[in-house]
Assembly symmetry: C2
Homo-oligomer: 188 residues x 2
């Protein structure tokens, strides 16, 4: 049996279950400067994301990525590759909804998915089951679940950076002490 | 009058008032893997911080840094330099308290400080008042207040990175897609 470095299902769920309330506490009712502004255009000349986009991206993941991939691994193993994840799916989400509606939608979908995950009653041996990522090749169920949790954290990391960026000039000479303002992002 | 790029007091307070609930949502009740582990030793051979340390550092800032500096600017202007900020003050905080007690303490102190800040009834012209930073030289009140807010965000950025680091191996090949795992920190 392959080793699973440090993965523990209940610890992953401890992250996944807290992300909706964390984002809600950080974002609900914020003025537009913190939710509707991005970091400008990246060096690939693409628009970067604001908080509204990030929550939309998390919603899309709940709908089309994480639990569907769990089920593909359990039902088909390596025989059926995952559908590629559409990183820009949030652009297809309604632009007319408020950020608060997106936060509500994310919380509802995440809760439904965690209920479904717990209903699978996964056993330790299930966590080593293998699936086929369309680009990365063979992956395990534990790697997928760990990635779901770290994906939340990578977007919290991004969000804190995008928000801080709005005060890049306002902090004046303190800029040199504020690590988040030195972060240029880490997109592949 | 010097321009104040983008600074708005109510927008800064919108960040400052949400940080305690954000950290509470993210951290309260978490298993130790997410709160008591750090990123190991940095290349300066110092211990890096875990969530418990970070909340302790924020508590120290509320006690000795932000509002005391606001008052020094208002009472003494550039004539009295700020006391240097002790970045390791959290090591003097009680190590016997739980993370939950630290979260409660941070929330209480932040609330008291925001009540005190609002009681100052700062006017736009006050925001251009100048003070003396012991290392950075002349700074303005608006820069201090903007830095207080971005300092919250830089530690949220750090916290998401420290937590994600614990699953650096568990995510397997997905590592290449997760920006937060490429972040080595941005300490000066």
């Amino acid at each position: 049996m392959p080793t699973m470095p440090e993965f523990n299902l209940s610890e992953a769920i401890a992250i996944l279950s807290r992300t909706p309330t964390t984002l809600d506490a950080l974002l609900r009712g914020q003025p537009d400067i913190w939710t509707r502004r991005n970091e400008g255009r990246s060096n690939q000349d693409k628009d970067t994301w604001n908080a509204f986009d990030i929550v939309g991206h998390l919603i899309a993941g709940e709908r089309t990525d994480w639990m569907p991939r769990v089920r593909i691994i359990l039902e088909h193993g390596e025989a059926q590759a995952f559908d590629p994840f559409d990183r820009l799916a949030q652009q297809k989400e309604s632009q007319n909804k408020s950020l608060e509606q997106r936060l509500d939608e994310f919380a509802r979908l995440r809760n439904e998915n965690l209920v479904a995950l717990e209903a699978l009653n996964l056993q330790p041996e299930d966590l080593t089951r293998r699936g086929m990522h369309p680009a990365l090749g063979v992956v395990t169920l534990s790697e997928l679940l760990a990635t779901w949790a770290v994906h939340d954290l990578t977007h919290l990391h991004q969000l804190s950076r995008v928000m801080a960026h709005q005060y890049r000039d306002a902090v004046g000479p303190w800029r040199v002490y504020l690590g988040v303002l030195k972060c240029a992002g880490h997109s592949a």
